[in-house]
């Protein structure tokens, strides 16, 4: 299929978003196509792939990083306005549409800001466009650029002469490659970026008129529903289609390997058919007992990675006067998006369009092409926002569901998952166990050894692995599994991208020390083992689990040394920016210098305490320190956070209001994950299938205060912020529980039951 950009623009304008560029004349639009080969037909090195100036002076920008509700749409619009010296109202941003946007992979990992706001991609494209426009004006006026000024899309020389962007290039191609030397506007010059611009989508959202993927409607659209297996690993023996034949509106039962779905005229008919369809299933292999999950993880064959190894750790541990050991565990948790995942697919004989809330439009395009046997360049995936997405929720799987059902009928089909199907089959955040050992001399840590085991099955489908999510596996594609492998010697630079290592080690590999800390005797070994459930990135993947273990263990070491927790941390750090966020948080929280636990612990009633935790997210992508003030009801074990104070340094801040908004959400979501969230299962199936079996605090909960101090580090690189704050919440709360009670709880979540049991066993003289 040879589809021009304009045809796509025409096709989508009415449906999903208002495309400002739809008015482009065909000469320009056609020139954008036709499709080339994977990875992208839209060359990211060409300026015309990113920026178009319309005849009306509107700047249309095309980005491969999309907004899931945390403000990237607004921040990227600000970036384009800033670099092109126009007001925000003159910018139109088109997000993640494979027909018009360059392939920027997946929007994830707090990488949108680092990717698009630094020295390449969207930021550099906008700077290149401004430079090109200034050059054109300089030629027209016959004056050097430094004698020109630009404002609101109008370039003037110092006389009366002026020319608009539209007059210079309106509706025409730049025909330039991105310039590495095009000068970016500096934070000191910013007038749009760096300002607390209110989120551009809020009015439509609050008025109930924002179009989510759930609201996409295509003429002739039908409703599909999937039928997932009754237990993990079950396979289809037979399907009795006569069981649903009487249901009015039912059009088809689709069976493909173990994938089952129904299609009906109306949504409620599809739901009824999915519920009533009689299927005979072969039982799955069964699930390991939840009670012994963590011991089980440790016994499995594993794929090992050695991040750092100074080779002297065992010796230091053997000779040290004091050795501290502890084991930390973190459960499977889920994205649990508020709206169940939804997608609309329109598969025709010569091509397909999928409206999807995926984080990965290009990889999704590849997988859909593979599943349907279509040429890659005949598939278009358009991102339309779904319900809040904190990683790989059901968005990819449901996009494949919709594509397969639409393919079977040749008609456009909308699929939305049931709550149970969403929760039981999404890619969970991994369960994890971490073993910590440290050697102490005086009040210094002299050796630190940590070893983690993380459960894994599947993950992002990428461009080629449909089996990494449930739909693909049911269709017969294998998920990525763990091939056992012993660890190679550490190589290259120590970067701590997964936060497997604590901040306090020196991180020395081959003589180069990339860690944030000072502990020279160090070993960090990670094991990936097979999970019975699908796993995948969930806000702060592996970072949240390991940081919980590191920051609580650091607290244990500080308590053992009778040191103030912040002072003790700073004593073992050499990274100035991490030290700075610790000091800022301490100052804002009026931190009282003393050791934990607090003196004169309460024995009955309500105990109060404070805890701190800090991290450099992904080793280089944002600094945070968080202080939690909590109370513990000693009778019930209930934890109530009252106040969080966070200090954040994410480089130059693009939008302080957006950063605060998403950090507030991250901290409270972290609190929910620390206190209540845990996926449960029985011997066959996941039993966390609704909001009673997987609770999450309601809007009516007692909401703690959240104060956020932003350290606007304007000279460095722009960093992500989506996952920074959430990463330290469980540790800060765990440390506050210890401060309040003297009891260390090393297992998330800190449910009232678990806290009560820990308090009881300690008061009876047991060891927690």
């Amino acid at each position: 299929m040879n589809v021009s950009r304009r045809e796509f623009l025409k096709g989508s304008g009415a449906l999903v978003v208002t495309f400002g560029a739809a008015s482009l004349p065909s000469s320009y639009a056609v020139a954008q196509g036709p499709f080339g080969a994977h990875p992208s037909h839209i060359d990211p090195l060409k300026l015309d792939s990113w920026i178009v100036i319309g005849g009306d002076g509107i700047v249309t920008a095309y980005t491969g990083k999309c907004d899931f509700g945390q403000g990237m749409f607004t921040a990227q619009s600000q970036l384009v306005a800033e670099e092109l010296c126009v007001s925000l109202g003159r910018v139109r941003l088109i997000e993640c549409d494979t027909s018009v946007c360059a392939d920027e992979g997946t929007t994830s990992g707090s990488q949108s800001t680092p990717t698009n706001f630094n020295t390449s991609n969207l930021a550099q494209a906008a700077a290149t466009a401004r430079e090109a426009l200034m050059n054109l004006a300089a030629q027209r006026f016959g004056k050097p650029i430094d004698q020109l000024t630009v404002a609101e899309g109008v370039i003037s020389d110092k006389t009366e002469r002026r020319v608009t962007y539209a007059e210079l290039i309106g509706n025409k191609r730049f025909n330039l490659t991105l310039s590495k030397t095009a000068k970016r506007r500096t934070p000191a010059e910013w007038t749009v970026l760096g300002k607390p611009v209110p989120s551009l989508d809020r009015v439509a959202l609050i008025a109930g008129q924002f179009e989510f993927v759930h609201n996409v409607r295509v003429p002739g659209m039908l409703h599909g529903r999937v039928v997932r297996p009754p237990s993990v690993g079950a396979t289809v023996a037979s399907v009795d289609e006569s069981s649903v034949r009487q249901i009015p509106g039912l059009l088809k039962v689709v069976v493909r390997n173990n994938f089952l779905g129904v299609v009906a005229e109306k949504q409620s008919e599809a739901i009824k058919a999915a519920r009533r369809l009689k299927v005979s299933w072969n039982a799955g292999p069964g699930l390991p007992p939840q009670k012994t999950l963590y011991e089980g993880l440790r016994k499995q064959p594993s794929r090992d990675v050695l991040e750092v190894d100074s080779k002297d750790v065992e010796q230091r541990l053997a000779s040290a006067r004091t050795v501290v050991r502890a084991t930390y565990t973190y459960p499977y948790q889920m994205h649990g998006s508020l709206g169940t995942s939804c997608a609309v697919a329109d598969v025709k004989p010569d091509g397909a369009t999928v409206w999807s809330a995926t984080q990965s439009v290009y990889p999704t395009r590849s997988i859909v092409a593979k599943l349907l046997g279509l040429p890659l360049d005949s598939v278009r995936v358009v991102y339309v926002r779904g319900s809040g997405c904190y990683g790989l929720n059901g968005a990819d799987a449901v996009s494949f569901d919709a594509a397969v059902l639409s393919h079977a009928l040749g008609k456009p089909i909308r699929v939305q998952l049931s709550r149970e199907d969403e929760m039981a089959w999404e890619n969970f955040g991994s369960a994890c166990i971490v073993e910590q050992r440290a050697a102490i001399e005086g009040s210094r840590i002299v050796a630190w050894d940590c070893e983690n085991w993380m459960a894994s099955k599947g993950g992002r489908p990428g461009y080629d692995t449909p089996g990494n999510v449930v739909t693909g596996e049911l269709l017969g594609y294998a998920p990525e599994t763990v091939s056992p492998q012993t660890a190679a010697e550490p190589m290259g630079k120590f970067e701590n991208r997964s936060n497997f290592a604590p901040s306090y080690i020196a991180g020395c590999v081959g003589g180069n020390c990339g860690g944030a800390g000072t502990v020279l005797s160090e070993r960090v070994l990670s094991h990936t083992v097979t999970s019975p459930f699908f796993t995948g990135p969930l806000r702060s993947p592996s970072r949240i689990q390991n940081t919980f273990a590191h920051e609580c263990f650091m607290d244990e070491l500080g308590a053992g040394a009778k040191a103030d927790p912040i002072e003790f941390r700073i004593q073992h750090l050499r990274d100035e920016r991490l030290i700075a966020v610790l000091n800022s948080a301490a100052e804002a929280a009026k931190w009282e210098k003393r050791a934990s636990p607090k003196p004169n612990l309460a024995k009955t009633g309500i105990a109060s305490g404070r805890g701190v935790a800090c991290v450099i997210y992904e080793g280089n992508n944002g600094y945070v320190a968080l202080i939690a003030d909590i109370t513990v009801d000693l009778a019930s074990g209930r934890i109530q956070p009252h106040k969080f104070v966070a200090a954040l340094d994410c480089g130059p801040v693009s939008n302080p209001d957006g950063l605060r908004n998403q950090s507030e959400g991250g901290i409270l979501q972290g609190m929910s994950r620390a206190l209540v969230e845990e996926v449960t299962w029985d011997d066959k199936r996941v039993t966390s299938t609704d909001w009673e079996s997987y609770p999450s605090p309601y809007v009516g909960m007692e909401v703690p205060t959240v104060d956020i101090v932003l350290l606007n580090h304007t000279t460095g690189a722009a960093m992500g912020a989506g996952e920074t704050a959430i990463t330290v919440v469980a540790a800060a709360i765990g440390n506050a529980i210890f401060d309040a009670t003297g009891v260390r709880i090393r297992q998330v979540p800190f449910t009232a039951e678990r806290v009560r049991a820990a308090l009881a066993s300690t008061s009876q003289g047991g060891v927690e």
């Binding site: 008025a207 924002f210 508020l338 319900s387 049931s418 709550r419 901290i667």
Partner: protein, 155 residues
Amino acid sequence: MSKISLKVNGRLHEVDVDSATPLLFVLADELGLSGPKFGCGMAQCGACTVIVRRQVVRSCVMPVRAVGEDEVTTLEGLGAPEKPHAIQQAFIDEGAAQCGFCLSGVILTAKVVLDEKPNASDEEMREALGGVMCRCFAHIRMLRAIRRYADTRKA
């Protein structure tokens, strides 16, 4: 299938559906409204909230026939983007949203509470919002917006 008349946001509609169909699917699929949303289908989260008879109703579990002649008000029925209702304006002023999927539940529930009792205490408001979820946890700003709206009503 039966023909059902339904008054929604001041307009009368006639739809041809099974009368047991959940009200939500009629609003979303037949009338093309985007305010109420499917979150759980079990009245656990509030994303599908609408107002009927001055009460909040979980439209995902209410059969359309149970509406009768009463008017249904959805989030978009409160006010338009260019002329939002005062409670919507308070949410806009506070920037009280992240993904926004939860807003029908939060805004309509708070409005019904304050319509009934303009001086509702924080405690009463919390209780009313005790069945409304937001998984982005924009709680702080949403509660601030509700307080702002309550204050403007009192003034």
